[in-house]
Subunit: 329 residues, 4 copies
């Protein structure tokens, strides 16, 4: 839904065709997604031949287990895809099956996809872009300066990530019932969150010394927003100035990532935007760095980064369609 | 306020006299604390001679910097005190001044107080009980089985603690304004929270190998409740069974601490009670244990534990006045 | 669940037997209601013969459409029932069918029940007590002084009632999903709420001039609590003093209803208690009285009033099991 | 703050100069309003001569009591002003003093201002525009079809308005402390809200039969958004079709007001936009219409409507700078 809002304002998008797997006959957007009250835009039943024939690119916003089945057809046709699902993010069939508990796409297709962490990996020239998960985005952007520059003990990374309920999908469940979420904190999927392997895959592509990360997720009573609080032991010989310069160097020229210094960011700074704000404090007593990385899970963590990838793919200005302002207050 | 509610229902308490530092003439409770609408109980101006003469014990619920000045008089009189403030918790003048930014009570008095972590240190026979801080209580009860039994690498402790706004006091500040708290997560006092030294003091009394802890606090949009998420590297040779048995042995006979196994507790399980619920998961890949420890900050983290100490001091049944039920739902 | 908590602390209740319609074999409370983690109390399959034989009274906390079928058997046996459902509150079959969209119990049984608005209608000597709905309780207690004393224009009553989500039940629905409730206000069942006919039935028993009420319900992002804001035109010749004296006279001796004067009550004053707080302001310009009436929907609006009725039925002190304190803050 | 965000994206605005009454020397936006972290835009001390000389128009976003003093100078200079404060909305000195408890601007200036309810009163050709209050906007847009077409009993209007906390300003007060707002509903300023007289002034300009309105405000635990629930007795002879056609006719060509039919709007439909959504249900039994009117108090209720007035004043397209999308979800 947020993706549709963004694309409507994108200067390079002249026509958006909407397709839905669950439809058997054309419908209207307000029927399919009631929150779009009054919007009579046509929504068509999913049809891959029609999609490939009538469009220049497609965005998939499907549940796990869907694009693993349909991706090969698009790949075979060299048709540009930006896939917001997790199905094609992992290069390993075994890892996918282990973490998603579903059959993976064939390995030859998994290996052709591009992991679209847009601030580090350009989508230019790619065909099938696996858009990163929300937790993965916040966590990787917090860790990049440290891991890429080899500044922390590689086995010491601990991530305490907190997310609002929009990360949990729209289907009503007991865990997202208002009376359960409100006035509560709930740890879920301990050591089992499916974003762990894509974080590891990317971290190891940056620094093969990282053996594993400790990653926990807590559901907090807010709608939008993720905060990844990241802890790591700083390597002997690395001082605070070196840490600071690593963050500054890494993010000086990245439009969508703001380094906030020792003022750790809060979630309101980024909700409504495609920004990731990261700051850190260093504790000399424990030799531990604490990084706080915040994003809007529906924008930078999903639709916003998808548009960022789309812009790279089609050579639009990086901020095209993403010149957004925070929700104040 | 919560303390007053508890003591009203305590079978051993026949008369509660209320005193307020800010008064110069007697007033009524509903005037001093408007939420006690209609309660015309007399509140007297603070007068230490009168307190000592007319009562059997006193509870202090004052801001930092108050009881450091008045404690010596009560100690000299051997008058029982349960002090909910942080002033007399630390045995070291230097530590107090460093973390509280105020002058400390004289060392000879600081050394006479009892740190009342009631599930581990009995108040029986004590005179001046320094009631622990809310974060300290949640964190220490989560760490006790691990530190007392020497099961974790002592320099690997990381605590990511989350608290509702009642922990921040009733005075209106920008950080606790509804529009700032709502839909937000805010890290505050990074590496500077004044509960760090009392946690360290108690941990080192259990195990002098612990050099320091990494401790961070995040304000979450709830009223009551603390969750301390605790991470530590498990020592080589310690397996999950040993971890489990340590928690079971430590808490089997402790009425107010419930070990929840690998089902990590959420905050709603304890809000409204004097209970601390603790559970853990062990990650074989990272050799890291994650403990979640939850309390109601106003009960177990303040007034409830104060009554628990009061019961120990005066030989009441440990559950007297604390037979509370969770707020459902 | 709240009822079970209350009865556990009731001095006159020696044994609570739990029964569940959905069970076919005995189970444990923690299995049936997961929030009662660790509580291994036996829950038995529903069996009316066993209930009548092994108990002194029964509380029904069933969905609409259940007790209309089972009530006759208990009535025939003259077995005391406190029914928290709406099935037996209306004396008219036609009204029940119209508002509940289900078949009603036979009229001869409907006419034998007692509408248990406990602060006005004593349950003493009754057998089948239909415990009032939550909105009905808040609204009737706000209107009683005005309607009983004929102080308002009978066709001018407008009720704007607001409720937290616990009033909507525990089953996850789109309307109670956190992301839908949070930061939102949702009017639901406009002019169609099933508590309207029981309010009318009781109002007309007090004053047959009241032809109808305008009653609207709004879902607000809180867990517990109802506020009924009630508007009515004051009759010519009735001044503010007369209105005040009517509220004072009506509620002076009612333990569970507090008249707060022109300080209109807020919801926090009553959450956690069996109290209803009512206050009013009178607008001389519009000749309109505005009454605010607040209750905890799970206590005064359900389980608390059920215990109040139980106390009347079995001659216990009216506050037995209901000596509760507000959730502070 | 929201106004500044809107103007930054307005195609007709080439330069925004910021001024602050409290400054004595130039400062930066991030210093004056910390939420604009990193924004080093200059903020100048307030200086009316400089404002008039260096700008084409000015927006005032001041507290009550400020523009009553400074407005005459701008009026004398025929300099375009859009005043978001309440100081210049009422044509009557006596009314201002009664409701605002401050001295009013001289009557000759009060009578020269334009009440800028932008969907009904065009600002074209005006000089001093008093931008309406948030509650007034929601309420007037809900009532306009009924009052302008004389469809309701003029003395029967009752407004139960609910607002989030951003309506209460940014200064921390006890009433807006998170612990007081959260899980609570608080009626405030009963019969005393200062938006009552501007609503009356506008209603009477539409229909001089309306003698008064009953208007109550409740603070709800959300950040942004107002819902005005409006009740009125429908005149004899007016049926539901007539009511429907009045709403349709009134709003068919008004871009920023959407008539939602009998599906009453919720707040999420409009938060983030300059829209007002209005719907109604008619109760044949009570002859009462219930209108729900929702707006984003910071946009349609303040900055958005100010830009709408600015567009009318300077002949921009009505949607210029206001092509906003709702915050989903």
């Amino acid at each position: 839904m947020v993706l549709y809002q963004l694309l409507q304002k994108h200067s390079g998008v002249t026509k958006i065709n909407l397709y839905d797997h669950k439809l058997t006959a054309p419908s209207e957007l307000n029927q399919v997604v009631p929150i779009f009250r009054g919007d009579q835009t046509e929504v068509l039943p999913y049809d891959d031949d029609a999609i490939i024939q009538n469009n220049d690119a497609v965005f998939f916003a499907t549940s796990a287990g869907v694009t693993s089945k349909i991706a090969p057809k698009y790949m075979a046709a060299h048709f540009p895809v930006i896939d917001l699902s997790g199905d094609m993010r992992l290069a390993s069939e075994a890892q996918y099956t282990k973490w998603y508990h579903k059959p993976a796409a064939p390995a030859k297709f998994l290996r052709q996809t591009h992991y679209g962490l847009a601030d580090f990996e350009s989508a230019k020239g790619q065909t099938y872009i696996a858009n990163p998960g929300c937790y993965a985005t916040a966590t990787l952007l917090g860790l990049a300066p440290l891991v890429q520059n080899d500044l922390i003990e590689p086995d010491s990374i601990i991530v305490d990530a907190k997310s609002g309920t929009t990360g949990a999908g729209k289907t009503p469940h007991a865990i997202t019932h208002f009376t359960q979420v409100d006035e509560n904190l709930q740890i879920y999927k301990p050591n089992q969150h499916q974003h762990i392997p894509e974080i590891m895959q990317e971290l190891q592509s940056w620094n093969d010394q990282v053996p594993a990360i400790q990653f926990m997720t807590t559901l907090v009573p807010i709608n939008r927003g993720i905060m990844s609080t990241i802890y790591a032991k700083v390597k002997a010989g690395v001082n605070e100035d070196r840490l600071t310069s690593a963050f500054k160097e890494t993010y000086t020229n990245k439009h969508f990532v703001q380094y906030t210094g020792t003022q750790l960011p809060d979630i309101k700074q980024v909700v409504g935007t495609n920004n990731c704000n990261v700051g850190f404090v260093y504790n000399l007593v424990t030799h531990t760095i604490t990084v706080a990385s915040v994003i809007d899970n529906l924008l930078k963590g999903a639709a916003g980064q998808a548009v960022q990838n789309f812009n790279q793919l089609f050579n639009y200005k990086e901020t095209e369609g993403l010149d957004l302002q925070t929700f104040l207050p």
